[in-house]
Symmetry: none
Subunit: 210 residues, 2 copies
């Protein structure tokens, strides 16, 4: 029985190449390839693949959403992220959603092959720079703060936000300008993936950041 693989990748050339190459590997069978994750749930329901190769940046439903959708219903399906992105935000989001591997596109085809083999044996293939980021996060702290890694100043500002301070009050309390406060809050929002103060406060309290 061969290993069933599904590919989600919007670049048609790359998608075709991957399909042909993986199909050429004995024991592997690419049973589906798609340019986005619009129907990810239905596709996985029907094809029931062993491994999913998942790009992130795709039109309409992207790879992170796809990962989320698939893992919700099929946690046993191995999903390897295959992307050019190596920012911590996307990386951590994928890992939180249960991605089984994270391989950068700037690596060789062999690396991807090894990665697939790796997950099938219970491993977690990570490109070197990715692995490093993951380890750095875990060494820093083991809970809470790691996820968002706010700077000291940002954490301080966030505490004031939770206390209901206005930007002006925060500026006074921190002895910095109003614009700097704005800057910090802008960054906090980005790191917490929120876009208003109330949401930030809710996240801060729920995740015990403050």
């Amino acid at each position: 029985m061969s290993t069933r693989i599904v590919i989600f990748e919007d670049n048609q050339t790359l998608r075709q190449s991957l399909k042909i190459l993986l199909d050429g590997v004995p024991g592997y069978n690419v049973c589906g390839d798609y340019e986005n994750c619009n129907d990810a749930a239905a596709i996985v329901d029907e094809l029931n693949p062993d491994v999913v190769i998942m790009d992130i940046d795709m039109p309409e439903t992207d790879g992170i959403e796809g990962l989320h959708i698939i893992k919700e219903k099929h946690p046993q399906t191995y999903i390897i992220m295959h992307t050019v992105f190596e920012d911590e935000d996307r990386l951590f989001e994928c890992l939180c959603y249960g991605a089984n591997g994270y391989i950068l596109k700037n690596t060789s085809f062999v690396t991807l092959l090894e990665g697939i083999d790796n997950v099938l044996h219970g491993g977690a293939p990570l490109s070197p720079s990715i692995a490093k980021k993951v380890l750095q996060s875990f060494k820093a702290t083991n809970s809470g703060k790691v996820l968002y890694n706010l700077s000291d100043r940002e954490t301080e500002v966030l505490k004031y936000l939770v206390k209901g301070y206005s930007y002006k009050m925060i500026a006074s309390a921190c002895f910095i300008s109003l614009d700097t406060v704005r800057g910090h809050i802008r960054n906090i929002y980005a790191k917490l993936h929120v876009n208003c103060g109330r949401e930030a406060v809710a996240k801060a309290l729920r995740d015990k950041i403050v």
Copy 2:
């Protein structure tokens, strides 16, 4: 051994009257009287009274703060609130902080005397209208919501605030106008004693209102 009483009351005339009257009662000894709660912690540490008669509206550190301060370190000290306020906000705040009695100033001196005797025997003297409010609250719900008693609609709106919805989004979600949303939020702020959304969210989460 006489019962040691401390009085916190900013109206000097009333304070002196109370002191003289209580000192005239056999077995009672007013060992201190103050016009605010600025040094409440130190005072109670030193005098170690059995009963504290506590006004609420006082300059600088008020009676609710004083109650809080004293009960933190001396939970066994009986504290009887003695005030003109009968709004639920202050009342419930005092009861939550562990006040042992709540006697309105529009009652006779004898009532206060009975109240002191009452707490010394493990009772909880409450003026009639106060007792009524307390019972009403407990019949309504037994925990949480009672504290602020938000209406159903207000609770609903608060949930959306916590989720970071804008007023417009809340209006859509509830099928009501933007101005009505404003109205509800205005009321929520008043009930929670806050004046911005972030503070409301913090309170909602901490007090598990939502």
